[in-house]
């Protein structure tokens, strides 16, 4: 797992088919993610997510709109998309975060795993984005990993 990524999972007492519908259908996406969703669950589809002021997870004062592009859609198994890239730009690793859902059928339900990576890429300003692009080798991931290790070692020292 890259260091600027977050992985979470949950066990859901429902079939993968039902879970698939909830994570990919626009009318469902607007019930767990944004306040409004305009996106098709097919590969390459571009859409938008919209959060109303004071709505779910949005900023209090202003409406938030985030573009989304579906990267993978393998029914009942995998769904991934890039989001938070600048309006009109093609999403890639330098300007957007990648969200990957994996559905695993288990006795009594579905284990749903989500991995969001490239989180550091979405809040950069234009200048640092360019610099990020120029620097594939010495990636942010490596750096952030060291920061986290550093914090962990400090925390460890403090509790000894």
């Amino acid at each position: 797992m890259a260091a600027d990524s977050v992985e979470r999972e949950i066990l859901i007492e429902a079939s993968p088919e039902i879970v698939w519908g909830v994570i990919t259908e626009p009318e469902q996406i607007s019930r767990w993610f944004s306040d409004e969703a305009d996106v098709e669950g097919r590969v390459g589809a571009d859409g938008t997510l919209m959060w109303r002021p004071g709505g779910r997870g949005g900023r209090k004062e202003l409406e938030t709109i985030a573009p989304i592009r579906v990267v993978e859609a393998e029914p009942f198994r995998r769904f991934s998309f890039r989001w938070s890239h600048p309006q009109g730009a093609a999403p890639d690793a330098s300007n957007s975060a990648l969200v990957e859902f994996t559905l695993i059928e288990e006795a009594g339900g579905t284990r749903l795993r989500v991995l969001e990576s490239g989180i550091g890429a979405v809040t950069h300003d234009e200048q640092s984005k360019t610099q990020y692009l120029e620097d594939h080798e010495h990636g942010w991931e490596k750096h952030f990993g060291e920061l986290v290790d550093y914090v962990a070692s400090k925390t460890h020292e403090a509790t000894l």
């Binding site: 977050v6 767990w32 997870g57 750096h143």
Partner: protein, 117 residues
């Protein structure tokens, strides 16, 4: 999250998004404490450039400088690094909330489907 907190996060990410600044931070993490001159020795940039990067890092609070005789020695500030880690924890918490909503939605659809059978 308030607009101020968002702006502060952005400044923090922007500060560490620069490759040379990451290299400066990495070097400081390795040696614990170093002067601008010492840091510049191991890098393909001028001492002036290193000084500028240190100023940016200082501004967002990632490093702190302390005067030792004629030179200023820099160290990484762990509490600010902690905040960067917290920003990641916030993302994780957001996904936990979203997953919980997905679970609730899917399980209610499943319950309805069972009634229909």
């Amino acid at each position: 999250m308030t607009a101020t907190a968002v702006a502060e996060d952005d400044a923090l990410w922007a500060a560490v998004a620069d490759p040379t600044r990451r290299r400066v931070l990495d070097a400081l993490l390795e040696c614990g404490e170093a002067s601008t001159t010492t840091l510049a020795e191991g890098m393909p940039v001028t001492r002036q450039a290193v000084a500028k990067h240190l100023a940016v890092l200082d501004r967002v609070g990632l490093v702190a400088g302390r005067r030792r005789g004629r030179e200023v020695r820099y160290t990484v500030r762990p509490e600010r690094v902690d905040e960067a880690a917290e920003a990641m924890a916030r993302v994780a918490a957001q996904w936990d909330r979203r997953l919980a909503r997905i679970k609730r939605l899917a399980e209610s659809v499943q319950a309805e489907a069972r009634i229909d059978l």
